[in-house]
């Protein structure tokens, strides 16, 4: 039985994490990368599994769901937190099914087939306690953590297949995944990169500095020049904040413009996104962008500055993730493998 010290320790860590998330979003604290957030979330969930008091899978899922709701409420725009929670919930369901010995793991999703053949109301309330469940779940979460560690490298490994010599590549803003991708290709090929600066934070400048330190010829352009320069570009490679369930993107402000310009010139648009960015949300019409005031010129003028853009799936050519390349129309399938439909709404 975990003693009171361990419990308070656990609660402290959760509170500290929530505080960090909150700060990171309001612009006060350091902007953390999504990979870091994903890793920390998963580590925290592993700690909860190890230290919290629970007797059956149902209890654990309830605890995780509650903590999950609090975490997503602390920073709604950081979708990786929610994604990791859903992954862990799926892990728990799978381990439970395995412990019960049922071979119905594959059949957990709703389907026409299941409608026709099920013999009764499924009584999956996850109440049965299993001794081996805890170590199994922790083992599976460790595997998930290992997978998370390797995502950027796995994506970067595929760079040589997509980038050829003397190509002109365009990107926007700063994405650690795309940075690693381009640096990996630069070891063997010579090519030119054009970075759109992505006002008002101009993260494109940092990207350009970093790439040129690796020996890649880089040019920085303003966002307004994207369309003008697009005719000379061979490929557009971008990162994203979230991949939505319909194959669309929620990416940094300016990406939709870039995508439309690329479509107009029939330039392939490649998105480098690790699997932990895949979210079961679909874009609603009342799409929440983070609006906040950037500066007040006069007291009568409000300047709205959206942080994210929605890019529809028709404008995207290819997704490169740590498990390989996929078409946008295949994203629904990957999603059904990662998350259980009942966890879509935490």
């Amino acid at each position: 039985m975990p003693g009171p010290d361990k419990e308070t320790d656990l609660t402290e860590r959760i509170e500290a994490f929530l505080f960090d998330l909150n700060r990171g979003g309001s612009g006060a604290g350091p902007l953390r990368g999504s990979a870091e957030t994903a890793r920390e979330t998963t580590a925290l969930l592993r700690r909860i599994t190890a230290q919290a008091r629970w007797s059956s899978a149902g209890d654990l899922m309830e605890i995780i769901r509650n903590e999950g709701r609090r975490m997503t409420a602390a920073q709604p725009s950081e979708t990786t937190v929610g994604n990791m929670i859903r992954r862990v919930l799926k892990i728990i369901r799978e381990e439970y099914a395995r412990s019960r010995g049922s071979s119905e793991e594959a059949d957990q999703q709703e389907s026409l087939h299941k409608l026709l053949t099920s013999g009764g109301v499924s009584d999956e309330n996850f109440r049965q306690p299993f001794a081996a469940l805890k170590p199994n779940v922790i083992e599976a979460i460790n595997e998930l953590l290992t997978e998370l560690e390797g995502t950027t490298d796995n994506i970067a490994m595929q760079a040589l297949e997509h980038i050829h010599s003397n190509e002109v590549i365009m990107t926007i803003g700063r994405s650690r995944t795309v940075e690693a991708f381009l640096k990996d290709a630069a070891r063997k090929r010579k090519f030119h990169v054009i970075v759109a600066e992505c006002a008002p934070f101009c993260q494109g400048h940092e990207m350009a500095t970093s790439l040129s330190k690796a020996g890649i010829e880089t040019t920085v352009i303003t966002d307004a020049a994207i369309f003008a320069v697009m005719s000379r570009v061979n490929k557009v490679i971008i990162g994203t904040q979230t991949v939505l369930a319909n194959g669309g993107l929620r990416a940094v402000n300016g990406t939709h413009t870039l995508a439309l310009a690329a479509k107009h010139h029939s330039t392939p648009l490649i998105v480098c996104a690790p699997m932990f960015k895949l979210s079961p949300q679909v874009r609603r019409l009342s799409f929440l962008s983070d609006f906040y005031r950037y500066c007040e010129i006069l007291s009568k003028v409000n300047v709205h500055c959206p942080v994210f853009d929605y890019v529809p799936p028709e404008l995207i050519t290819l997704f490169i993730s740590n498990i390989g390349g996929h078409a946008p129309s295949y994203i629904y399938r990957l999603m059904s493998e990662l998350y259980h439909p009942e966890d879509h709404e935490l």
């Binding site: 053949t117 319909n246 399938r333």
Partner: protein, 302 residues
């Protein structure tokens, strides 16, 4: 049960509950047929069920009845694989059949729950003809205190759109009936298009009342999202590549097929909308992209 009794039972089901989908009524009729069947072998059972489905499609030639019948047949085959003895098999079939009917009667509610969140406050919606599923979705959105207005096409030749408008007026939703020809005209004012479907085909496209294809092409041109709401029992194993590929037996009403000599002079009642024009499909299996539909069908039929 002979042909007359079958058709009479089907008609009675439709009369008793005008809100019921025709596929559900067909499945209910086939279940009743199963209960009264005096056959001795499973093969004989399948044969008589096929005959019963043909009778029903002779009465109501819509795609939904055909897909409901095929689904029921598939259900029988899957169940009969598990139990070899006919009497045991029949008992299991009857139990599961009742359960299946219960589940699919909940489908419309599930679809409405998924779809109403896509209707935001102040939205202007365009819909086509009379669809009970779309009506249910709009009911749910109205119940959630959302304010929206609806444009409905008249939908000739049977003016079914007026029936839809009546039903919406009862819900206190502001509704305007427009001519079928006015779809392009009205689309610039509209935020989203929601239509029902009589059948969802393997490619992810839909078969629906004539005029739907037109609406989809115009929505694409105007960049408006085109949503389809359909229950999962409407998934049918057809793969039309163009309008001509849709079989004649679905295009015209049952009486027309029986009486008229030259079909090329008749007006078709349905058309096919390809998946490239559809944004999302809302079904009781979840929110699907058109490419996900064939996955579902494969899981069932293979």
């Amino acid at each position: 049960m002979n042909e007359e009794e079958l058709v009479e039972y089907f008609r009675a089901q439709m009369r008793k509950d005008p809100d019921m989908a025709s596929a559900v009524a067909a499945i209910r009729t086939l279940l009743e047929f199963l209960k009264r069947d005096k056959g001795e072998t499973i093969l004989g059972l399948r044969e008589s069920l096929k005959w019963a489905t043909d009778c029903l499609t002779g009465e109501d030639s819509s795609v939904a009845v055909s897909s409901g019948g095929e689904l029921f047949l598939r259900f029988i085959s899957l169940t009969s694989l598990e139990h070899q003895d006919l009497s045991r098999c029949k008992k299991v079939m009857e139990e599961r059949g009742e359960l299946f009917l219960e589940k699919i009667s909940m489908s419309r509610t599930k679809v409405a729950k998924l779809c109403h969140t896509f209707i935001k406050d102040g939205a202007k919606i365009l819909t086509h003809s009379y669809s009970r599923v779309v009506l249910r979705v709009l009911e749910k959105a109205a119940a959630e205190k959302k304010r929206f207005s609806v444009y409905v096409t008249e939908s000739q030749p049977d003016s079914a759109g007026r029936q839809m408008a009546e039903a919406l007026r009862k819900l206190n939703v502001p509704v305007t009936v427009v001519l079928d020809a006015a779809v392009g005209y009205v689309l610039e004012k509209v935020d989203l298009v929601i239509v029902g479907a009589e059948g969802v085909v393997e490619s992810g496209g839909i078969i629906n009342k004539i005029g739907t294809y037109q609406m989809a092409v115009c929505s694409k041109a105007h960049n408006k999202p085109f949503y389809v709401v359909a229950e999962s029992f409407k998934f049918v194993r057809l793969y039309p590549l163009n309008q001509q590929d849709v079989p004649d037996k679905f295009k015209y009403k049952a009486d027309t097929l029986k009486t008229v000599q030259n079909l090329s002079e008749e007006h078709p009642m349905i058309d096919y909308t390809p998946p490239s024009l559809i944004t999302l499909l809302f079904t009781d299996l979840g929110v699907l992209t058109p490419s996900a539909v064939s996955d579902e069908l494969i899981k069932l039929y293979l």
